[in-house]
């Protein structure tokens, strides 16, 4: 056995769902102590491949060797025994359970069936200290931040003694700080001899931490490359199969009159404390205002209040001249609001309904889609067909259910619906979450197009890149307040990062300048 040993060797893996081939003769190997990135468009088959490795799916054909031995991974239990643990794209946590319960589930410490919570908690604390994974073992999962939920997921695999970890899009829901932290954790894990497969759509993350990268396109492996010698552009091109542009092309903004005016708005969170505290800001026609901030600083509540899904406790909101404070969602929509909701499956779509019904979800009661309370399916269909065509929503037909669409296409359908209503203000909350670069590119283009047509856009995203590239101005939220509003072209990532951490603007500028100097010196030395 050589020093650099393959802990995983997957060869010729094929997985068919009915007649559809999600994985087609894929090969992948993972070396000990390596971080191996897996890159591919939405639906390329990455999760499928990893689900096979973690025992959730059985391959139609192909071989898997773990640490040199040919194995059949028939269940998650078997994967566990082999030391394979997976952090899933959609968290696999039981909301109503505590952190400890979630971690020990399936591997409970017990005497005669009676759970020994104390010793489990102790072990979790030790693990969490060892890897710097801060969690509160007795908190309920529904009450902790997304970042902590992720750490719980990682602890789950470590608790089971996994030394091969699979991360499926782990950063999609994290703040920059949390991402930074996660990268550190991953390095620490590999330093301890663990091996990691990382699925991500973010090329900079791949560059940052991984050693090698395997690119998958339409279920087939394209190539495995050494990350240090490959540029981001090359990776992206390989993935999509054509050349992609990253820079968002946009003219300078030409803001006109005020469209949205928020005045001293306060919103209580469902458990009763103020999540948004006396916020005031404006969005003008022809500009994109970005809202940056770490998850949980009141952004969601702000948007819920603006769109009428929750009530504010004080303050005023005006949209295009009408007072929409605490009005019902429909009134607000009619006053000119378009809204791409943060959680597309919970709020944006009625999954079991057809695409055409979903596309008219906001307008079904208006002419020509209905008349005196009767729906006009002819018009609804014509309209849906037009939008599907125009926004390139990939679906066999408008009569298929929204559930049958992939996430990216679901999002496109929502965007089509909201933009087509020609709203004077579009709120886009995390519009590209979990989408591949191609889809992201498209959505950004549409947002800017909207702006250029003289509409106002409010873009909320935890993705700093996105906020910086797409917005004209950026409002940074911290602890329920807007700590500062800066021009996008006059700021940088570090400054925003500090603002998001609650450092006031003047202070942040000062720090950034000092840091910059330091960095320059460090760089020049190396």
């Amino acid at each position: 056995m050589s020093a650099v040993q393959n802990v995983i060797e997957m060869s010729g893996i094929t997985k068919e769902f009915g007649t559809f081939r999600a994985n087609d003769n894929i090969n992948l190997d993972l070396k000990r102590g390596e971080i191996h990135a897996l890159l591919g468009e939405n639906g390329a088959g990455k999760s499928t491949l990893m689900n096979i490795l973690s025992g959730l799916l059985e391959p139609t054909s192909g071989e898997i060797k773990v640490k040199g031995n040919l194995v059949k991974i028939t269940s998650p239990d078997v994967a566990n025994e082999l030391g394979i643990g997976m952090v899933h794209q959609h968290f696999m946590l039981v909301d109503k359970f505590t952190v400890t319960e979630n971690i020990m589930l399936g591997r409970e410490k017990s005497k005669f069936g009676y759970i020994d919570k104390k010793s489990a908690e102790k072990e979790i604390r030790e693990l969490s200290d060892q890897y710097g994974l801060k969690v509160d073992p007795s908190a309920k999962v529904e009450n902790i931040t997304v970042g902590m939920q992720q750490r719980v997921e990682i602890l789950k695999t470590l608790y089971r003694g996994a030394d091969i970890l699979i991360f499926d899009e782990p950063t999609g829901v994290l703040t920059p700080q949390e991402i930074e932290e996660l990268m550190g954790i991953m390095r620490k894990l590999t330093a301890e001899g663990k091996s990691i497969i990382l699925i991500t759509h973010k090329l900079d993350e791949i560059k940052q931490v991984s050693n090698r990268c395997t690119v998958i396109r339409r279920g087939k492996s394209v190539d495995t490359v050494d990350v240090s010698t490959t540029t981001q552009q090359e990776l992206a091109d390989m993935m999509v199969g054509r050349s992609v542009t990253f820079k968002v092309d946009k003219k300078p903004a030409d803001p006109k009159g005020t469209v949205l005016k928020v005045d001293q708005l306060t919103v209580k969170e469902s458990r009763g404390y103020d999540a948004v505290k006396e916020i005031s800001f404006e969005v003008k026609a022809g500009e994109i205002l970005g809202i940056a901030g770490v998850d949980g600083n009141g952004q969601s509540e702000l948007i819920q209040a603006l769109s009428g899904l929750t009530k504010s406790s004080s303050g005023k909101v005006h949209l295009a001249g009408t007072d929409i404070t605490n009005k019902k969602p429909r009134k607000i929509t009619e006053a000119g609001l378009g809204h791409i909701p943060e959680d597309r499956q919970k709020y944006g779509l009625i999954l079991p309904m057809t695409l055409e019904e979903n596309i008219s979800l906001q307008t079904y009661y208006q002419k020509p889609y209905s008349n005196h309370g009767f729906l006009n399916y002819k018009e609804i269909k014509v309209h849906a067909k037009r939008l599907i065509e125009e926004f390139d929503v990939r679906t066999p037909s408008e009569e298929h259910t929204a559930a049958s669409l992939s996430g990216g296409n679901q999002q496109k359908a929502i965007i089509a619906r909201e933009i087509d209503r020609d709203p004077s203000l579009l709120i886009a909350a995390q519009p590209t979450r979990g989408l591949d670069v191609g889809a992201i590119e498209y959505i950004h283009k549409r947002l800017i197009e909207l702006r250029d047509n003289g509409k106002a856009v409010l873009l909320m995203s935890y993705e700093l890149d996105e906020v910086m590239n797409v917005s004209d101005r950026i409002a940074v939220m911290y602890d329920g307040k807007i700590i500062s509003i800066v021009k996008a072209n006059e700021t940088n990532e570090s400054e925003l990062g500090l603002l998001m951490a609650g450092v006031p603007l003047a202070e942040a500028k000062k720090q950034v300048n000092e840091d910059g100097k330091e960095k320059v010196t460090v760089d020049s030395k190396s």
Partner: protein
């Protein structure tokens, strides 16, 4: 009647009514905690009542005073068999839980009476030779005041139900099995990724509901009706379901809710002996248990939180 007498009466007559409900509602709790709605409890009770009656009649000579307790087991066993139908239908065959439960409710009385006719030549079994009777708890009944109120000449099955509630609570919240069962009702996918056998857990939940529901029916037959007939189970399964929701799927809460139903029923029956209450017009007393339940639910308890994935079919990804 003196105060202690009234109190003892209220307690014991509440427990009479509550005993079958407690067991059945606990059964429902296990099933729903595993994510399977079980509106078939009524039917399961019918089968439990039927089986225990048959057992009682056939084996009274063999087991003497212990017959009802073995009959309880027999009711539980048939309940398990019957709930197996529900389990197969909802878990493997992906049937809608409500449809399957309705099937059980439709089929059970028909089968019960069909078989009773076949075995006894009549639609009723006739009186059972051994019934549960009354129990006093050794020593506990000597405690002043509390003793006579709670532990003297009281319903054995009800205390059995209370004991089972405590065990059920312990099992559900303190053991490995309970944690796994609940995880399956909340997030079966997560459970599966952790190597938990989702189907097996769901089966356990449903079969436990059969066991306990069957026992509930057996209590109704052997402690109250003292026979089996089409009228032996007349809506108790539905009330038990209400108790389960009322008790928020927590065995102790469920037990409390069942006793509350017993209490409310009891007030309307024995209210005539209690000053003030006896002046309320009869119709109000009759509808009071139901209205009181609604009021308590609205005013005090509020929103009931069901297991997150209750009623949804889990499809293994393969």
């Amino acid at each position: 009647m003196n105060t202690i007498g009234i109190l003892q009466l209220i307690v014991s007559s509440s427990l009479i009514y509550a005993a079958p409900l407690i067991m059945t509602a606990l059964g429902g709790t296990f099933s729903e905690r595993s994510g399977v709605v079980n509106i078939g409890l009524e039917g399961i009770m019918v089968m439990g009542a039927f089986m225990s009656a048959v057992f009682n009649i056939h084996y009274a000579a063999t087991f003497g005073g212990w017959t009802p307790w073995f009959g309880l087991l027999a009711g539980g066993v048939i309940g398990i068999l019957f709930s197996l139908i529900h389990a197969v239908a909802t878990i493997n065959l992906r049937a809608d839980h409500i449809i399957s439960g309705t099937v059980i409710n439709l089929a059970a009385p028909a089968i019960g009476v069909f078989l009773t006719r076949a075995m006894f030549g009549a639609a009723q079994t006739g009186p059972l030779p051994e019934s549960f009777g009354r129990d006093s708890f050794f020593l506990l009944d000597r405690i002043p005041i509390i003793g006579p109120i709670f532990f003297e000449n009281t319903s054995g099955p009800a205390y059995f139900g209370i004991l089972v509630s405590v065990i059920a609570w312990f099992v559900l919240f303190k053991t490995k099995f309970g944690l796994r069962l609940r995880s399956v009702g909340e997030h079966p996918h997560a459970a599966e990724t952790l190597g938990i056998k989702v189907y097996a857990m769901k089966y356990s939940g449903v079969l436990l509901s059969g066991l306990l529901g069957g026992m509930g029916g057996a209590i109704q037959a052997q402690a109250i009706a003292n026979e089996f007939g089409i009228l032996t189970i007349a809506g108790q399964g539905f009330i038990a379901m209400a108790a389960m929701i009322f008790g928020k799927w927590n065995p102790l809460g469920v037990m409390g809710a069942a006793i509350f139903f017993g209490f409310a029923q009891s007030l309307s029956r024995i209210g005539v002996y209690i000053p003030i209450i006896q002046d309320i017009p009869a119709i109000w007393l009759l509808v009071m248990p139901y209205l009181l339940t609604i009021l308590v639910l609205v005013g005090v308890i509020g929103r009931a939180e069901a297991p997150a994935r209750l009623g949804t079919t889990y499809i293994k990804s393969r």
